[in-house]
Every structure is written in structure tokens, then in C-alpha cells.
């Protein structure tokens, strides 16, 4: 039974006095905005309160890398002034949010979780962040992540690992682990993350929050520090599906600064939530329920699918026969693109430079050696190998051809169904240290998420129960290109019914 959300602000004065409570978990975007609009609270008090909460909780969790107090309080004061004049606040007016550190923020340190950008203070803003702020959002700070978003546990952060708020001995997932943990622990109302192989959906699933990866091209990548440009997506992590719809509506749409951002109209995702789900056809692919799937995850996800069937959806078996080739394809395509993207870190224009290098080439090498962590070096090496003379056809071109097959699998399935339902991750959150010595085992944590990145289709993870150890489980819903409205609607219907 979902607790009621209405009572939150009656408790607020108590909370303001430092009596912190997990009830903060119930604060949604609309609740925060209307409290500020109606002047039940001030946006500045709310931001201050969140900073108190961060000070108290974050030493154990490690979700934030940099706080942006000055910028946050200025935005909050702007929203308070609007409210005081009785003007209508914009859709995210005064709402405290967190931003993954791979998105650049003007004047606020942006490290991408890497030592090589340890002191980097960007001179410009990421489009998605600028759109959030234009809609009134108060950016509290920058969240921890795996270095350059490369990882599935957040243990590859050069600064510190993030711990799962539900169980501090476990990982929050990755790479947007800080964003997921911040939302789950009530240290932000909502957050932006990025997803290249599952990095929004998998941590959302591990931390018990909602995570949405939009269609490739739906949200501008301008100002997103690039990992793999044909696979990188920005999207929201939120407490509710409606909040995810609100954030997507805010950040979606064509941006002249990113030529791959699509000129496709942005529907009102929030209004679309109200449409019925009855009669929608949901595909269930046996490839996502096979070997390696944890028993408790399976039963929760199957129960969630039954619940959707109970709401009038028709469950249809579909086949995605090339699924087992997704991880190998991904680790060629993503690393090849990464090796090219990360060539820019050379110690010349920004970032770490090794001391006392005698020649230019010595400086490049030593700066990169000192600046990059082990997983980043491993991926640069793998990508460089796959692109090198003699191996290009065997690896890179081969992977691109298989990427076509993986995409065709979805195209075929979507002729028969409106969405595909799967587990988000084969297991619930694992322990810190459990997979750090085995890169391949870590890569397999993304087995149900990577294919959507390769095909560019949207996917959402919505909480669907817990294991016996009280660890959250996520239901993943995948949709057609540019059909976020349908997967949001299904996730919303499920959330309301559970």
C-alpha cells in the first residue's frame, strides 16, 4: 500500500527544526512546487533543508561530489520572489534536484567522476540542465558516478563509491548511482542521469526509484561529457512516474547545439498518463527470463506483469532472438566510441597535466596515465584495439552489423506489441567489492538494459517489489522509438495499482 503524499507539509515545520525523517521520500515535484506556490514553505527554506539533509545523510552514502549552494539559493530566491508576487511558478518552480556529474554546469566543478577533470570548472551549461533551471528547478549539486559513466556499481568513481541507501553494504548500481541514491535517500526530489548501457535504469532498480531512458535524440546531449556518442542518453530519476513525465517534458526537444537531437514534437507526457492502458499489448520475451535471472526478481517481475494483465493489457509472447549478442556488441561499439571521445583529454586545454614532462608526447601519456582510472583505461584499450588496423572489420564492423540485427529484433516485436516488459536487472543490488575484480561479470549486470541503448528505443524502470532482504526490484518497460508516452502510461498505471 502506497503511503499518502498529502500529509507531507503538515510535518514540515518539525522537519525544518532538524528532526529528519524518511518521510521526505514522499515529496514529489508537484507537492514541492505547490507548497512554494502557496507559500506553505519558501523555496530557499526547502533548499536549505535539503542541504541539512545532505549534510546528515551523505557522509554515509556518498551521493554528491559538489554542492552548488550559491547557484541553488539564487534560483530558489528567484522562485520565492515570483510566488510572493502571486505569479504562477514554472512547472519545476523551486523544486530541488540533483545533476549527475557528467553534465557540465557553468561555474560549478564538473568532474565526470574522474581525476582527470578534478579541477574542471566548465564555462557553459548542458542544455538539459539549462532547461531544468529555466523551468524553475533548483540544482542542489552534482552527483557521484562511475568515471565517465563507465560502470554498473559506482565503484569506478575516482572519488568514492556510493552506497545503496537501502543497505549500505551494497552498491546503488551505476553509473548514475549518485543520482539514484540521492533521490532514494530524500536528498533530492528528482535527478538527471545518463544511460549508455543501462546507467539510469539499473541504479533506479537497485535503489527503488523510477528511471527513464528516453529515445536516442529525444533529449539534447549538448554539454554531456561524451562516453559513447551514438549510445549516450540523458534522462530523469524520480520517485514517481508522473515526476519522470514532468522532467522529460521539460528537457525533451530539438536543440540546435546537438545535431542528433530530433525534430520530433514533444507531447504533453503528463497529460498522456491519464489515457487508459486497457487493450495495450505487452510483449514478454523468453530471452529476458532465462538463465542467470534471480528467482526472487523473476517472481516479482512476473507478478507485476500479471498486475498489468489485470488492468486489461494483453500479454503476448515475443522473441528477441539476438539478445545474447547484445553485451558483446555493446562492449565493442561503446569502447570504440569511448576511445575516440576520450582522446580529447590530453592535458592541454583542460584537465590534469602531468608535471615536468619533457616532450609533448610524454606529457600526453603521463597526463592520461595519471588521470584515468583502471576501468577507463581498460575500455580505451579495448576500443583502440577494436578499431586498429587488421581488427576493424573483425570487431567494429561486425558489431555494427549485429547492432542492426538487434534493432530489427525490436522492430519485428513492435509490429505485434505496444511495449515489452522485462526485469531491469537480473539481480537486486549486489555487495560492494563483489564484482570489482571481474570486469566481465560486471558487464553482465547490464544484460537486460544494453539492447535498448543499441537500438535507441526508450525504456523505464519502475519499482515492483522487494527481495526477502528488502532490496528493491525493478520492472523494465521498453517502447517504440519516440513513444515514451506509452511506457510512461503503463508504468504509471502499474504504480497506481500497486
Amino acid at each position: 500500500m502506497r503511503p499518502k503524499r498529502t500529509g507531507f507539509f503538515s510535518k514540515f515545520p518539525k522537519l525544518l527544526n532538524g528532526n529528519l525523517s524518511l518521510d521526505m521520500n514522499l515529496l514529489t515535484i508537484d507537492a514541492a512546487r505547490s507548497a512554494i506556490q502557496e507559500r506553505t514553505t519558501a523555496a530557499t527554506s526547502l533548499a536549505e533543508w535539503f542541504y541539512t539533509m545532505i549534510e546528515k545523510s551523505d557522509p554515509q552514502i556518498g551521493a554528491y561530489l559538489t554542492l552548488a549552494k550559491e547557484r541553488a539559493l539564487a534560483k530558489a530566491a528567484e522562485m520565492d520572489a515570483l510566488a510572493a508576487k502571486g505569479e504562477e511558478l514554472p512547472p519545476l518552480g523551486g523544486v530541488p534536484v540533483a545533476v549527475k556529474d557528467v553534465m557540465v554546469t557553468r561555474g560549478v566543478r564538473s568532474t565526470a567522476g574522474s581525476k582527470i577533470l578534478g579541477d574542471y570548472v566548465p564555462p557553459y551549461d548542458c542544455t538539459a540542465v539549462a532547461r531544468m533551471e529555466a523551468a524553475g528547478a533548483v540544482v542542489l549539486g552534482k552527483t557521484n558516478c562511475d568515471e565517465f559513466a563507465m560502470g554498473s556499481s559506482n565503484e569506478n568513481s575516482a572519488w568514492c563509491p556510493v552506497r545503496n541507501p537501502r543497505d549500505l553494504s551494497r552498491v546503488p548500481g551505476g553509473s548514475s548511482g549518485g543520482s539514484a541514491a540521492a533521490v532514494a535517500a530524500g536528498m533530492a526530489v528528482a535527478a538527471l542521469g545518463s544511460d549508455t548501457g543501462g546507467s539510469i535504469r539499473q541504479p533506479a532498480s537497485f535503489c527503488g526509484v523510477v528511471g527513464l531512458m528516453p529515445t536516442y535524440g529525444r533529449v539534447s546531449r549538448y554539454g554531456l561529457i561524451a562516453f559513447a556518442s551514438s549510445l549516450d542518453h540523458i534522462g530523469p530519476l524520480t520517485k514517481t512516474v508522473k515526476d519522470a513525465a514532468l522532467v522529460l517534458r521539460t528537457i525533451a526537444g530539438r536543440d540546435p547545439m546537438d545535431s542528433t537531437s530530433a525534430e520530433v514534437p514533444v507531447p504533453d507526457y503528463v497529460a498522456e498518463l491519464q489515457k487508459p492502458v486497457r487493450g495495450l499489448k505487452l510483449g514478454m520475451a523468453k530471452e529476458y527470463f532465462g538463465e542467470g535471472l534471480d528467482g526472487e526478481v523473476r517472481s516479482s517481475v512476473e507478478a507485476a506483469i500479471q498486475k498489468l494483465a489485470g488492468l486489461g493489457c494483453e500479454i503476448v509472447p515475443v522473441s528477441l532472438p539476438h539478445t545474447q549478442y547484445a553485451i558483446p556488441t555493446y562492449y565493442i561499439v561503446a569502447t570504440a566510441e569511448a576511445s575516440a571521445n576520450l582522446a580529447r583529454f590530453d592535458g592541454v586545454r583542460y584537465g590534469h597535466r602531468a608535471r615536468d614532462a619533457r616532450t609533448l608526447s610524454d606529457m600526453y601519456r603521463r597526463s592520461r596515465d595519471e588521470g584515468f582510472g583502471p576501468e577507463v583505461k581498460r575500455r580505451i584499450m579495448l576500443g583502440t584495439y577494436a578499431l586498429s588496423a587488421g581488427y576493424y572489420d573483425a570487431y567494429y564492423l561486425k558489431a555494427q552489423r549485429v547492432r542492426t540485427l538487434l534493432t530489427r529484433d525490436f522492430e519485428e516485436a513492435f509490429k505485434k506489441v505496444d511495449a515489452i516488459v522485462t526485469p531491469t536487472s537480473p539481480t537486486a543490488a549486489f555487495k560492494l567489492g563483489e564484482k570489482v575484480d571481474d570486469p566481465l561479470a560486471m558487464y553482465l549486470a547490464d544484460i537486460y538494459t544494453v539492447t535498448a541503448d543499441l537500438a535507441g528505443i526508450p525504456g523505464i524502470s519502475v519499482p515492483c517489489g522487494e527481495t526477502k532482504e528488502k532490496l528493491p526490484i525493478g520492472l523494465q518497460i521498453l517502447g517504440r522509438h519516440f513513444d515514451e508516452a506509452t511506457i510512461l502510461r503503463l508504468a504509471h498505471a502499474y504504480e497506481q495499482a500497486s
Binding site: D119, Y120, V121, P123, Y124, T215, Y216, G217, S230, P256, M257, S259, T260, A262, E263, V264, H322, I327, P328, Y331, I332, A343, V348, R349, Y350, H352, R353, R358, T359, L360, D362, M363, Y364, R365, R366, R368, D369, F372, K377, R378, M381, L382, T384, Y385, S388, Y395, L397, K398, Q400, R401, V402, T404, L405, T407, P439, L440, Y443, G456, H481, F482
Partner: protein, 112 residues
């Protein structure tokens, strides 16, 4: 073993990485393990499958248009002043590890 220590040194060189000897040993092990897994792609006959480099050449475009016409929206007039002003010199240099106020500075490239 597909990848040898020599291959690792060669690729590290291409990637502008040094790698310590321990890092190299570990890299040989990791790359072989990952590439061993990746080899399963060879089970698939892809001779007649076109490669896919981008998602955006398939979706979100006007399907009735062909070639570069499809992406007309993504281009713009070539203008002196672009979509936004260039960064002021000072800001462009503010993150440089070494600069002299006009240029980025690097170790000497050419011996005279």
C-alpha cells in the same frame, strides 16, 4: 591467448597511454577474457546485414525524404556569428593547465 603483451604495448602506444608493467599484465588478462566473450559474435552470419553506426538515420526523420534531405533540420546557414557567441578568450583559457593569456602552452615540440 589472442592478445599478447606486445599487442598491449602497441595498442597503449596508439591510445597515448603508458601503463605500468603490472597494468600491462592485468590488461593482457582482461582483454583476453573480454575478447573471448565477444568472439561469440562470429556465430552470426552478417555478410548481408548493413552496419548501423547511428540510431538517428533510422528514426525521427522524415521518411519520405532521402539522403541529406532527411537531415535538413540539423543544418543551418553558415554565419559569421554562430548560434551563440564564441567564448571570451579568458574563459576559454581558464581551465588550461598552462597558458600565457593568449595561447595554451605545451612542452616544446620541435628542437631547434
Amino acid at each position: 591467448m589472442k592478445v599478447t603483451e606486445k599487442d598491449v604495448s602497441y595498442v597503449a602506444d596508439l591510445a597515448n597511454l603508458e601503463l605500468t608493467s603490472e597494468e600491462r599484465t592485468r590488461m593482457v588478462r582482461d582483454l583476453n577474457s573480454i575478447l573471448g566473450y565477444i568472439d561469440r559474435l562470429n556465430e552470426l552470419d552478417t555478410a548481408n546485414v548493413p552496419p548501423m553506426a547511428q540510431v538517428s538515420d533510422r528514426y525521427g526523420v522524415d521518411q519520405s525524404k532521402q539522403g541529406s534531405e532527411r537531415f535538413a533540420y540539423a543544418s543551418r546557414e553558415d554565419v559569421h556569428e554562430g548560434l551563440r557567441k564564441s567564448l571570451p578568450h579568458e574563459e576559454a583559457l581558464q581551465n588550461a593547465p598552462e597558458a600565457d593569456g593568449i595561447f595554451f602552452k605545451v612542452p616544446k615540440v620541435i628542437e631547434r
